[in-house]
């Protein structure tokens, strides 16, 4: 133990540095692993983190009280672990009864003793040499029964044994050479592992797909950009749909009561909207999918003909609330990339109703929004057009980018 600074003590567990990724995997197993069941996911123990935002409703709220505003200043580090991967780590550590799973950039997964930081096992997925490395990160492994699921940047979905770190199955979801990749934490509902594809920067056609947790077999794939003849295709012209974008790159939220999964959809491609005239469904939208079949049972498009790179990929939080003294209702709440806080309403069959929208940052792209439908009226002065210099607020990073918002049902504050 060392003493650094004014009487602050640091205790370090084993700290692995440098070229660990070339060392053989640590050969150990998790004992007494608690399978992650439907019941546990729908009502997780407060001390665990079994889902991307802890709960299916996307609140990202912890009910734990031991650390609070009066004692947080007394926190001291207990252990650190150096993964050996030199790149930004964006995955929440997933915790199941004392075992912590960390997904690193470049396709590794580590199992650590959450109490001590001691490594248990390390899994490494081999990535192809010619993979573009725009976003080599991972936003976490999903948990179900005794398996972990990693969506890798080369478009492979991989099932890993949570106890041993061994690969159980490996399914190719898409061709990485086409420009798609995956970084999101998958969403598992009743043994169906759902993922979306990134790559809206390139000419891709977005989708959400589901795979059987036991076998890795693809069960369904729903495209976020319709092909000619499919519902919504009238909002595209010519061949623009083929590379229309609409990537889904952040984990969805889920309503177990209605059995609906909500996914946020990214920007239309390429960026200037005059390259793809029309409303461009279902880009910059939330879509409601039946997780058993992939059928789209509802949607709401936040803004049309996206020209600002405003991905609306963050899935809405499911919040029961009332508005303006009205009856409580099941809301879908989404602080948008477009700078508006959108409040929508869940309907039982899946459709999505509009309640209100209000900017939370300086926003000059929308002159107004329709009070009934929420449809923005765009100011052409602040809408990018091919060959023209245009300024707009917020920037392409948006009023809020991909890092999740959170909600406290105790204070009812976002």
């Amino acid at each position: 133990m060392g003493v650094i600074g004014k009487g602050v003590k640091f205790a370090f567990a084993a700290s692995l540095l440098g070229g660990v990724f070339t060392a053989p995997a640590i050969a150990a197993e998790v004992t007494n692993y608690a399978p992650v069941t439907k019941q546990r996911l729908e009502n997780p123990e407060p001390g665990n983190w079994l889902l991307y935002r802890r709960t299916y409703d996307g609140h990202g709220f912890s009910p734990l009280k031991q650390i609070n505003t009066t004692n947080v200043k007394n926190l001291v580090p207990v252990w650190t672990f150096s993964t050996g991967v030199i790149e930004g780590h964006e995955a929440p550590p997933m915790v199941n009864n004392g075992v912590m799973f960390v997904a690193t950039p470049y396709g590794q997964v580590l199992a650590l003793n959450a109490k001590t930081g001691d490594p248990i096992w390390r899994y490494k997925h081999q990535l192809p040499e010619d993979l573009f490395q725009l976003h080599p990160t991972s936003r976490g492994v999903a948990l179900w029964q005794d398996k972990l699921f990693l969506a890798a940047t080369d478009d492979h979905l991989i099932a890993i044994d949570a106890k041993t770190g061994k690969e159980l199955w490996n399914t190719k979801v898409q061709d990485y050479q086409k420009g798609q990749y995956m970084t999101l934490e998958p969403l598992v509902v009743n043994g169906k592992v759902m993922v979306g594809g990134s790559g809206g920067e390139f000419g891709v056609r977005g989708y959400v797909a589901a795979f059987d947790a036991d076998t890795g077999k693809e069960l369904w794939r729903t495209y976020t950009v319709p092909a000619p003849g499919q519902p919504g295709s009238e909002t595209w012209s010519g061949d623009a749909w083929k590379t229309g974008g609409g990537s889904v790159w952040i984990t969805g939220t889920y309503d177990p009561k209605r059995n609906i999964a909500y996914w946020g959809v990214g920007n239309a491609a390429p960026w200037p909207g005059d390259q793809h005239p029309g409303d461009n469904l279902f880009t910059s939208s939330v879509i409601a999918l039946d997780p058993d079949t992939g059928k789209m049972v509802g949607y709401h498009q936040y803004h049309q003909n996206d020209s600002w790179d405003w991905d609306e990929i963050d899935s809405p939080m499911l919040i029961n609330m009332s508005y303006n003294g009205g009856q409580p209702f099941d809301a879908l709440v989404h602080p948008g990339r477009d700078g508006y806080l959108w409040v929508l309403k869940q309907m039982d069959e899946g459709q999505i109703g509009f309640v209100y929208g209000k900017p939370f940052v300086g926003q000059n792209a929308f002159k107004s929004i329709d009070a009934k439908t929420g449809r923005p009226t765009v100011d052409p002065e602040h809408k990018p057009t091919t060959g023209k210099d245009v300024s707009f607020c917020p920037s392409l990073w948006g009023g809020k980018d991909w890092p999740a918002a959170s909600y406290s049902s105790e204070t009812q504050l976002l």
Binding site: V85, G203, P272, Q275, T386
Partner: protein
């Protein structure tokens, strides 16, 4: 910075000289959009799953070069197809015997551009063929395809983070976050045909800390 759609068979995006806004280097892809990069990521030929070794072999002496996309996709590039001063063409190498496109790996993508031979740098002259120089198209920063062309400066530009490479000076980095020049691909003329004279010089793509 406005992005202009590529004309007809022209893959590469011309970027106006209107100026580049200061962009804070960031891992996020700033201004990655554009049809040019979209097309550069797609191969016009359906990529078969077969393991034909000719497809993934690196370009080698004697290879022909074929257009990557457009209405002449897959057709052999002749010296006269390239105008002096640019714009460049994106190409796949082609096995001269079987005429197989070496499109099994993006690492085989080649940028070709033509200049007046007198304008080339000393390191580029011996590798050039009739004023045409060749380089790896894979950005040494994050491995995007360097599909942009800044016409008034005659430099390549990567659409992902705007790294710029000067083809008259060994494709060295003249702007942006890329750490290394693009590897050169020596070329030669043989009876009027444009051929590869030797393998890429240098490592393609980025250094990969943590990939192991």
């Amino acid at each position: 910075m406005p992005l202009i759609a590529p004309r007809n068979s022209q893959l590469l995006t011309e970027i106006s000289g209107a100026g580049i806004r200061d962009v804070v280097p960031d891992r996020r892809c700033v201004l990655c959009g554009g049809a040019a990069l979209a097309l550069a990521m797609l191969s016009p030929a359906a990529r078969a799953e077969d393991d034909n070794p000719a497809r993934s072999a690196r370009p080698q002496a004697g290879d022909l070069l074929a257009f990557f996309e457009g209405d002449r996709a897959g057709k052999v590039i002749k010296p006269d197809d390239l105008k002096s001063g640019g714009p460049p063409a994106l190409a796949w190498p082609m096995d001269p015997k079987s005429k197989t496109l070496r499109d099994g790996s993006r690492f085989n993508q080649v940028l070709l551009v033509r200049f007046d031979p007198a304008a080339l740098g000393d390191e580029d002259k011996p590798r050039a063929a009739g004023g045409i120089v060749g380089f790896s198209a894979i950005c040494t920063h994050a491995q995007c395809t360097v599909a942009g062309w800044v016409a008034d400066k005659q430099v390549f530009q990567c659409p992902c983070h705007q790294s710029r490479y000067d083809p008259k000076n060994g494709a060295r980095v003249v702007f942006g976050p890329a750490p290394r020049a693009l590897p050169a691909l020596p070329l030669k003329l043989d009876g009027g045909s444009l051929l590869v004279a030797g393998p890429f010089i240098g490592r393609i793509g980025m250094a990969r800390p943590g990939m192991g």
